[in-house]
Symmetry: C2
């Protein structure tokens, strides 16, 4: 089979033996996968990564134990947890200290014709949902996570900072959940996607100071958090959605003096994400910048890294 | 009257005219004041401060409008708010954007024979409470603030990082509120004060990793926040109690990946602090390292800056 391999800043496509599934795990055949900013960070050396990346995917179940999954089209949660520990018992396997993470840590990823995941991680894709929509389930779930972590009052004004892929999804998810979102970004063409959903947008020149009770930092940049804190009012909440590699410089005094709460926020729940996608109300197809065969992953990564790019898809050859 | 003056890293005691009170404000005559780390930071240039510092005090009311306050012994909240804005209406005058702050921003402080504060800021000191105890009300209130900002479950294990003045008070306040505190510090003599209250203590050599659901960062140092984050488990909460001057370097990835919540925490409510002090259960007198007449403020500041020092008091001459 073909599998993408990242190593020392290079993207290659290699031939590899098809993986074997463990009991309770499913063997999956890729349909389509999405390149995420985390994949670009892995290419730059984040987590000292080397191997097959990929954690946003739609696949067919080729082999499994469960009859309900056999032959079905699925998406999957990316944290493969032990199932035994306190975190797993609490339904928070995504924080299991023994976990591996698909395409990120200890588990070969989805940029591969075949790969494996625990059956418990898989969710059926509803029939009416196209692959090109379902492939957004993982990042839409990451956007939904914000709603799991805090009770935002209906109609509250929320600033989302950053018009990249995740910022656009967060803005849409929050707007569709009854919040009044304002999206700040640098790219008129990207902001226009959010505006199509009725979201107020602004091309950033100077950011407002101390205006919001709720701010989401999704710039993916080192300076984003300090900007988000400046936009936040006393006693407000800032969600931290960017994973950046290495230390950032941060003036913590305004956080203490204004008693701001910062909430780190990562992976989220798949069922509400799939439901939202199935509703057809998210603007997902407009977020696809290009599509490449898996065999052309190197070109695809270059396209994903280009300024102004949104989602780049990798498609497996039909079997 | 005598008043301390800080300017360009120097402490002087100057003669000044007695201040005039505004309507609704009280003229106060100092009894005793405490030097706080913030005062030492102001001396180092925090807030580009120049003027009379001091915000921990016990004083007598010399002139006022309210009969209930005339001639009484009081402590006072340090934020002088407008009383009109949204924050003031919500009872959060300490976040009023128009506020001045006693001895910190726009309002001459308590290291002075006479000074003024709004009557609304003043609280009577119960008769049984000595000046040397009541002078801790402001920092005890800052410790109580943690309990206002989050619901810590009864008996929860809390790590307090830092055995300085504020760390010691936080450890005591949390322990006396039914939490199971462990205090990490560098000074056996300081830790012994907390141990006297039944608090578990440890001289820091290497800190535990990912062990606590609740961590309070009170080191007053630039590196404290990163250490506190390392001690915190996934989905845990870290209270930020240190105001340090300038940018800190922080690896934000573990905050995002482990979905840690950071809560900036500053001034707190005086009534529960006074109640706790009046109970006689806090170990406050042991925290007093030395006492100086107001006229010897320069020596007092030097003593407060010395390694191992805890609270240094300034006492006004008897009138």
């Amino acid at each position: 089979m073909l599998a993408v391999h990242l190593e020392q800043g290079r993207v290659e496509v290699r031939r590899r033996p098809r993986p074997r599934r463990r009991p309770g795990w499913a063997l999956l055949r890729l349909r389509v996968a999405g390149i995420c900013n985390t994949d670009l960070e892995l290419l730059r050396g984040y987590y000292s990564f080397q191997g097959t990346p990929g954690h946003e995917f739609v696949a067919d179940v080729v082999e499994c134990d469960s009859e309900a999954l056999a032959g079905r089209r699925v998406v999957g949660e990316i944290n493969a947890a032990c199932g035994q520990c306190e975190w797993c018992q609490r339904g928070l396997g995504r924080h299991c200290p023994q976990r591996t993470v698909l395409g990120i840590a200890g588990l070969p990823g989805a940029f591969s014709e075949y790969f494996t995941l625990p059956e418990a991680n898989l969710h059926l894709v509803p029939d009416g949902v196209a692959d090109e929509e379902a492939v957004f389930t993982e990042p839409v779930a990451a956007a939904c996570e914000i709603l799991e972590q805090a009770s935002l009052p209906a109609g509250a004004r929320v600033a989302v900072l950053g018009d990249g892929k995740l910022g656009l999804l967060i803005a849409q998810v929050l707007q569709l959940n009854g919040l009044e979102v304002k999206l700040y970004g640098r790219h008129p063409a990207k902001l226009a996607i959010a505006a199509g959903l009725g979201i107020e947008t602004e091309v950033v020149s100077s950011l407002p100071q101390a205006r919001y009770d709720w701010v989401v930092e999704a710039t993916g940049s080192r300076g984003g958090l300090e900007q988000a804190v400046r936009m936040a009012r006393p006693r407000s909440t800032v969600f931290m959605k960017s994973t950046v590699h290495g230390a950032v410089k941060l003036d913590t005094a305004p956080i203490v003096v204004n008693e701001i709460t910062l909430i780190g926020s990562r992976c989220g729940p798949f069922p509400p994400a799939l439901k939202l996608i199935a509703s057809g109300r998210l603007r997902l197809r407009e977020m696809i910048t290009g599509e490449y065969p898996l065999a052309e992953a190197e070109r695809a990564f270059r396209a994903a890294a280009r300024r102004g790019a949104l989602k780049i898809l990798l498609r497996a050859a039909a079997s």
